[in-house]
């Protein structure tokens, strides 16, 4: 079908086109406790097409998926429709990516059986006890081959694994039972790292059983030491996105610090071509541009906006790309030094969010540790709120880093004066 679509696109009166062909093999296993609820196989191919048409001062485009089961006649009709619709879209002219000259070995398709087996073995080897154990889990082992082709001659293929593990943990005492939820993304299964992470979470479950309601703390320092911290760094990445900058939703400027009167650590973020066992280690981005390392934010000073070809060109950036991996540098103090004084370390939220446009943070506390000198109180309930525009002036990043799939971030991030609504 792919060859037919490319033939039809070459024959159509377009001013450019892009095709992405993704072939996926997925093995999935769903467990209740440690018994198999269901097994599934995915064997699918998706071909998405984007058609460009110049008219006047504009370059319009329209996109859609052409089913692999479509007939040639059906595919032709869809392309004709996209071509018409492209002329409805009045976007300033920009150009598509051209071949970079870089070559990369395509590589072997990852073995989903091995990935799935590793996950099953990790789950069968956890330090479960009578009071802390696994409620249920789901394993998703996926191998993908993505081929990108455009009218400028790019024809590149990325082959990569993309896996996911969802785990629900239980802990119980007398008749009281609690649960913790985790969703992990990765390339393959790093058995040692996964076992360490899962074992640590099992221990949180025991603590949640003895949690008391979060007191009304007013303003308090909050420590983020789990995957919730990703949301904090996504705020910075969002502000450095070319599309966001072009739409004036980011007022950050190259060379100008993002905040004044900063008392704490300053943030440095890089896009990375690869990060070990990330599920986002594609050699090329979704528009065929080669992915590379790039400094984005340097000690709170914007260095490079980055993002799609269209919006990057609108900003005058010619060599941009859509990054897959990011690394936020550590700060000046160790995690142990950040864990001093009075602070609330929250290890489980219902759903911690940083609204990237406004910087507003919000999340219900499911499990936290309130440290007041030598006293530690395990707390649950209530919420955090505030805004990153304030916190960026007084935030502290540990020297140590921790990886969450495609994000390498400080292992501990401390925000000062966060509003805490108690549950008392």
């Amino acid at each position: 079908m792919l060859d037919t679509i490319i033939k039809l696109l070459k024959e159509a009166k377009t001013d450019g086109w892009e095709v992405t062909d993704t072939v996926t093999e997925g093995w999935e296993f769903y467990f209740i406790r440690h018994e198999l609820d269901q097994n599934r196989v995915r064997n699918v191919e998706h071909i998405s097409v984007k058609v460009y048409k110049k008219f006047g001062e504009y370059l319009g485009s329209a996109s859609g998926e052409i089913p692999v089961s479509a007939s040639e006649e059906e595919a032709q009709k869809m392309i004709e429709r996209l071509l018409f619709e492209a002329q409805l879209v009045e976007n300033p002219v920009y150009s598509l990516n051209v071949p970079s000259g870089e070559t990369a070995a395509e590589g072997e398709l990852p073995d989903v059986r091995t990935i799935a087996r590793d996950f099953i073995e990790v789950m069968n080897d956890l330090p479960e006890t009578e009071t802390e154990d696994i409620n249920s889990f789901e394993i998703f082992a996926t191998a993908e081959r993505t081929r990108f082709i455009n009218s400028n001659g790019i024809d590149v293929t990325s082959v990569y694994p993309s896996s996911m593990l969802e785990v629900v943990f239980n802990a119980r005492k007398d008749r009281h039972e609690i649960e913790l939820y985790r969703l992990y993304h990765s390339g393959t299964c790093d058995k040692a790292a996964m076992k360490k992470e899962l074992s640590e979470t099992l221990s949180y479950g025991k603590d949640k059983l003895s949690a008391v309601n979060t007191p009304n703390l007013g303003k308090c320092a909050v420590l983020f030491s789990t995957d919730a911290s990703i949301q904090i760094y996504n705020y910075f990445i969002y502000k450095m996105n070319a599309s966001i900058k072009y739409r004036k939703l980011s007022n950050w400027e190259i060379g100008t610090p993002i905040a004044e009167d900063v008392k704490g650590d300053r943030v440095t973020i890089r896009a990375l071509k690869t990060l070990e066992n990330s599920s986002c280690n594609q050699t090329y981005d979704s528009e065929g541009a080669p992915v590379r390392d790039l400094l984005i934010l340097d000690q709170n000073v914007p260095a490079h906006f980055v993002g799609s070809r269209q919006f990057s060109q609108y900003l005058g950036i010619e060599d941009s790309f859509i990054p897959g991996n990011f690394a936020a540098e550590g700060g000046t103090k160790s995690a142990a030094e950040l864990r001093k004084g009075t602070y609330l370390e929250i290890v489980e939220f219902s759903d911690f969010q940083v609204e990237t446009m406004t910087g507003a943070i919000a999340g219900e506390i499911r499990l936290g540790y309130l440290h007041e000198g030598d006293q530690v109180t395990i707390v649950s309930g209530g919420s955090v709120s505030g805004t990153m525009t304030d916190y960026v002036k007084d935030m502290y990043l540990s020297k140590e880093q921790k990886q969450y799939n495609n994000m390498l971030v400080p292992a501990v991030t401390r925000l000062e004066n966060v509003s805490i609504t108690g549950a008392e």
Binding site: G26, F29, Y30, I32, R33, H34, E35, L36, Q38, N39, R40, V41, R42, N43, V44, E45, H46, S48, S61, A62, S63, E65, S69, A70, M78, R81, E85, L88, V89, E90, R113, R117, I120, E121, S136, E166, V168, E177, I178, Y181, L183, N216, G218, S243, K248, F311, S350, D351, M357, T358, A362, G363, E364, G382, S383, V384, S385, S419, I420, T421
Partner: protein, 477 residues
């Protein structure tokens, strides 16, 4: 007009029946769900436009479910050659057997489940729609959405941007077993407008929407709502942070809907009962809310984006009363969970798409209306907030915690709105306390279907929710 059923699905139906017949020689139960759903999305802003022939539910593909020795297995595929059914059967059997080999090697035991019943059912339903997405003039629609975006931005100097999006999907699904032939076709449409106000480096966004199991014609209703949302976005520029605490609250229908969805929608999805993940299992026929709380859930309880004729397991749609006058009566259930719990499925077995597993999922979740006017409710509040606009929510069925992020609150003192606006608001609490504190319910209810719902942090499906204005007490931060 009727939404005409997919010609493609009609064409492949005989081959799919052949596939089922061949697989039945090896398995005790075989079903095939085939989808062929088409649609469009047009997105307009001041800085960029896009048109796509995709929505979150457009798809073409198939999933086979088989049963043997207590285990259900599935194979999802979209490359299909009707002339080589035996080859496809071999491929399916080989792939699933390879998985079973791995499970054997790793010592995995099966959670045994009885075989699904397969009484004969024939359904052919082409639902009414005002127009079809396939026949919509996107030229005209792009012009209209562009005009809305421009008008909103021109309505105030503070409004710098207005993102407007309209999408419509023609859903076609065919569910086949040895004894069932179920085919449905319907159209749903949703549109949103998000004006963005900017002043002195502060950005604020408001959001409004239209939705329905209707054709793209409903997108014309976006204009007035978008202009109203622009005023809200500007208002948010002056909003203050709320003083954390417990307050009397009045929730407008979109916030009531968010509570319905997060409080007891997820909490009574009965696949969570199977895993002992929901407290609701122990509270059937017990009080979980005040007498004013009656809540329906089901594809048939209203006509919105999640109103279908049958679910993704071939169970006919229903209308379940989950809570009646504050008493939890039952939950909603997919077919496999019903087998495991010894109950009956309620038509709530849904997939994100053909590639995904079925879970028990919400469809439309709605509180019943009451007898009070909004003015009466406001007049009854000594100190509290009128809560408007929903941003997001998160369920916690195991502990009945609730998290709702709400766009804004209008202060009420001594029965009157003071004009003070606070934003954003995080509402948290214990579900029975929140529902038990409801003392007034409005006469008019509204249902909203522009969002999508995840299970945990994945498996996104279309749902709607709503209700009347409700007066209650909650913790806000």
């Amino acid at each position: 007009m009727k939404a005409k059923f997919s010609e493609y699905l009609n064409e492949i139906a005989p081959a799919m029946k052949e596939l089922i017949a061949v697989l039945k020689e090896r398995y005790d139960y075989v079903s095939v769900l085939s989808s062929d759903s088409v649609g469009f999305t047009a997105a307009i802003s001041q800085y960029a436009k896009s048109v796509s022939n995709s929505t979150i539910t457009t798809e073409r593909g198939n999933v086979v479910r088989v049963y043997k020795d207590g285990l259900y297995s599935e194979y999802a595929f979209n490359r299909f050659d009707a002339s080589n059914i035996s080859g496809l059967c071999e491929e399916i059997i080989h792939a699933l057997d390879s998985q079973l080999d791995l499970l054997k090697e790793t010592g995995v035991k099966v959670y045994e489940t009885p075989v699904l019943p397969d009484e004969p059912i024939v359904v052919f339903e082409e639902m009414e729609t005002g127009s079809m997405p396939e026949n919509t003039s996107l030229e005209k629609l792009v012009e209209e959405l562009t005009a809305v975006s421009n008008e909103v931005v021109n309505s105030s100097e503070a409004i710098a941007e207005c993102i407007v999006r309209g999408s419509s999907t023609h859903i076609n699904k065919m569910f086949l077993t040895a004894n069932r032939d179920m085919r449905q076709s319907y159209v749903y449409t949703e549109g949103m407008a998000a004006p963005i106000a900017m002043r002195d480096g502060r950005n604020e966004l408001s959001y409004t929407s239209v939705s329905g199991r209707k054709g793209p014609e409903i997108l014309s209703g976006l204009r007035d709502k978008a202009l109203e949302a622009a005023k809200t976005a500007e208002e948010l520029l002056d909003a203050e942070a709320i003083e954390p605490g417990e307050y009397e609250i009045i929730t407008t229908p979109e916030v009531s809907g968010l509570i319905a969805h997060e409080a007891f929608g997820h909490g009574v999805e009965m696949d969570m009962f199977v895993k002992d993940r929901a407290l609701g299992k122990e509270y059937i026929n017990k009080r979980v809310g005040s007498d004013l709380v009656t809540m329906h859930e089901g594809a048939l309880c209203t006509e919105e984006v999640a109103s279908y004729a049958f679910d993704d397991e071939g169970t006919l749609a229903g209308d379940t009363i989950e809570i009646q006058n504050g008493i939890l009566k039952t939950g909603v259930c997919d077919a496999l969970s019903a087998l495991r719990l010894g109950g009956k499925p309620t038509g709530n077995g849904k997939r994100e798409n053909f590639e995904h597993k079925v879970y028990t999922r919400m469809t439309n979740t709605v509180f019943d209306a009451g007898n009070n006017t909004l003015d009466e409710m406001i007049a009854s509040v000594k100190s509290g907030y009128l809560l408007k606009g929903m941003k997001s929510g998160m369920e916690d069925p195991k502990h009945w915690g609730i998290q709702c992020i709400i766009e804004r609150g209008y202060e009420i003192k001594d029965g009157k709105l003071t004009g003070k606006v606070v934003a954003p608001i995080v509402m948290t609490g214990y579900v029975p306390d929140l529902l038990g504190s409801i003392t007034m319910a409005g006469t008019d209810k509204e249902v909203f279907g522009s969002g999508a719902c995840g299970k945990g942090h994945k498996e996104w499906v279309k749902v709607s929710d709503g209700g009347p204005c409700l007066k209650a007490k909650a913790r806000l931060g």
